[in-house]
């Protein structure tokens, strides 16, 4: 923040993106209690309304101003205008030294950068960092189905891998490796219950990225669903999985190895077999991989896939 005698007083802008099913409020509150925000008048723009929000006590005692944008509509450009107006007001009012924009959910990261560019007070607003929340438990399960969540991870300056405690040992490492391939420049912080190191905000720095993510090969993270042959051998199944193992993120299905359907699940390279639930669709299989194309993935399983 520039505070020289002739400097225009600027406002530091932080953006929080990412998809986090639960635990967001806790993390947000913890973030706000870090050095870098404490001692400053921070405005918070949140995109959710309703009961789950910022801790009320925190707001009162530290004089922070919480601005809710009616953004529940998870669509496109509808609320850009509102965000931009809010940023302008904050910049012009000059009462806040920092703004934290909570843009989690399905906000496209390029859009968020636009807000600053399009606001007429752009020179007063300094983008200090884009932080992306990664739900360690769910990221690989949902990545193929939430493209903007993936784009957010690719675009961020820092990745906060939360809920590490809910993952098996080794899984977080693998996830960290995946994220590094997606976004080599971002710093990573692994956390549980949103606990972050004190230096986190102070060591954050923003790197301008162009709109299109470029780190992963074009295939990115892909998911395919297929129906297995009515009965297959364990050997054939394991052979198919082995073909894609270095790329495997998740697998879930109900193969029948001769004794009725069982549940097979993989998280990265670790597979577990368990009983199939009542009414499970025998032969259904979904595989999520990164770094190979859907076509290659399908052909890896072709031998055990049912003919239509």
């Amino acid at each position: 923040m520039d505070q020289g005698p002739h400097a225009v007083s600027t406002v530091d802008v932080y953006i929080l993106t990412g998809y986090l099913g639960a635990g967001k409020t806790t993390l947000l509150n913890r973030l706000l209690s870090l050095p870098g925000f404490t001692g400053l008048n921070t405005a918070i723009i949140v995109n959710e309304f309703g009961p789950a929000g910022i801790d009320g006590a925190l707001i009162d005692s530290r004089g922070r101003r919480k601005i809710e944008i009616n953004r529940g509509s998870i669509f496109c450009a509808c609320v850009k205008g509102e965000f931009i107006r809010t940023l302008e007001e904050i910049a012009l009012a000059g009462q806040h030294q920092a703004v934290l924009i909570e843009a989690t959910g399905l906000a496209d990261p390029c859009d968020v950068d636009d807000f600053i560019r399009l606001s007429r007070t752009g020179d007063k607003l300094v983008l200090r960092g884009v932080m992306c929340l990664i739900d360690a438990e769910n990221f690989t399960r949902t990545a193929p189905y939430m493209r903007t969540a993936v784009r957010q991870a690719e675009y961020a300056d820092a990745l906060i891998i939360n809920k590490a405690d809910l993952c098996l040992p080794g899984v977080v490492d693998k996830l960290s490796g995946l994220l590094t391939r997606m976004n080599p420049d971002a710093k990573q912080v692994i956390t549980s219950y949103g606990v972050l190191p004190d230096s986190f905000i102070k060591t954050l720095s923003h790197v301008r990225r162009s709109g299109a993510p470029a780190k992963l090969p074009p295939a990115g993270i892909v998911a395919i669903s297929l129906t297995l042959k009515p009965v297959i051998t364990r050997t054939d199944f394991e052979a198919a999985v082995k073909r894609v193992l270095p790329h495997l993120l998740r697998l879930k299905g109900f193969p029948d190895f001769g004794d009725g359907a069982v549940t097979m699940q993989y998280v990265f390279e670790t597979g577990t077999e368990s009983k199939a639930p009542e009414g499970a669709k025998s032969g259904a299989l979904t595989v999520i991989c990164e770094g190979i194309s859907a076509a290659s993935l399908k052909s890896a399983f072709a031998e055990i896939t049912a003919r239509l």
Binding site: Y19, N70, S73, F75, A77, G81, D114, L118, R141, A223
Partner: protein
Amino acid sequence: MTGIERIRKTFALEATDRVPWVPFVGCHAGALTGATAREVLTSEDKMVAAMNKAIARYRPDGIPVAFDLQIEAEALGCALVWAEENPPSVTGHILTEGKTLEELAIPRPDAGRIGLVINATRRLRAAHKDIALYGLITGPFTLALHLLGTDIFVKMFDEPDYVEKLMLFCREVCKAMAGYYIEAGCDIIAVVDPMTSQIGPEQFREFVSAHVSDVFASIHARKALGSFFVCGHAEQNIEAMCECKPDNISVDENIPLDFVKSVCLPRKVSFGGNMRLTSVLLLGTPLDSQRDAIACLDAGGTKGFVLSPGCDLPYAVPPANLDAVATVALDEYQRGVVKALASESKKMELLDLEDYGHADKVIVDIITLDSEACAPCQYMVEAVKAITPEFDGIVVWREHKIKQKESLVFMTSLMVRNVPTICIDGEIKFVSRIPARDDLIAAIQKRINEKLRLKIRNRKASISILGDGGEACRNARNNVRKAIVELGADIPVEMITDPKLIAAQGFTMSMTPAVVVTRFQTKSTRDVPEVQIIKEWIKDLMQ
């Protein structure tokens, strides 16, 4: 060609007289009538009044009746949160609040606000026979998200069967809604499914394709047309979207139009879009909006393309921006004007026009777009030519055709935005209309008078020749005039022959011809100056 005909032909990839213009006016219509977004979306009368206003003002070929993707979810029991300037948002995802999929039933036409939209459709249909009415329905994937929330993303991996069942239900809702709106008079059903931009083509084909195809098939069976709307980065799915057999695909600014064209046209699907909502339509000027519209028209081409904004127009879009877009959408000539302006204006140095108004003549500039090709321009020129003889010697007219670079500079300098335009001594007087002869004469006369007044006010000195007016006096006067002209000075010359006046100035006739130079200095205007102050002036004079 009526608006409906134009759109039908465009959807069928047939030739039309021009590209159809379809502004997606939803809650923005409220801004035209002083109603909030909420009012316009919850009151049939306000909705109809607002849409009538929008239709009259923006002259569309087609328009949506209501742009609100929460109607079905609300009718099914989802809680909404309302806003002044946005459509509402779903806050309660009923399938996470205890309701089961099996308990859900297709909403009837009287559920929630469905009836409101049906009635509004009927009234608008009756009032506007020539334009296409779009009935907007929430696409099945987006509706599924309203009902289940973001849990759906986990379930797509963990419980794909459940998601399939949910999609099946949602598609039946879509078909019912389409039926209601078609029956009420809609020509086109737009299936709006923005959430599909979250998934890739693999998942689109797995979870969405079959259902949306079924919806479009049912729309066609009812003899209506179908459009597939998507927002966001959905380029990866355009091909799969075409496979669902809509008549038209509409995209926003995140997907380049030429890409959409290259995928859609070979698959015999028309396409539309994609003016920038925030950076241009909301925050830009009318000229910016026109430029963006023209860029879309250039990319979209003349066959199978519908000009529209990328999505639902924000409430606060300045109506002037949409007026400006309508102007270029409907009028080829206006497009030419904007194009000519757009290409050069940034690089020009502006002329220095300061001295412009000071010449002895009144200059009439006519700025035209190459008058041989443009009828209104020609008439403007004729009008000015015709009256110039009236002001013989005082009025000079010049034409500036803006196909020439210097003219563009001129135009930009004078801040002329429309052609043809007449400027008198650098001031815009008549824009885009040919003035009646008397009006033009009056305007020029007015300027001449102004100039004279200015002259008098600016006068700093005068020269008088005092005498009997005979040869010596005349020679003196000629010399004075010559001196003035050679110096380029602006000083009036007066001959005073009245003996009383000459005597009053302290001269006898034997002293003439006398040349007297008088300097003026205005000391005060408007106020009554104090005696003390006037004494000071007099002391200055006496020095």
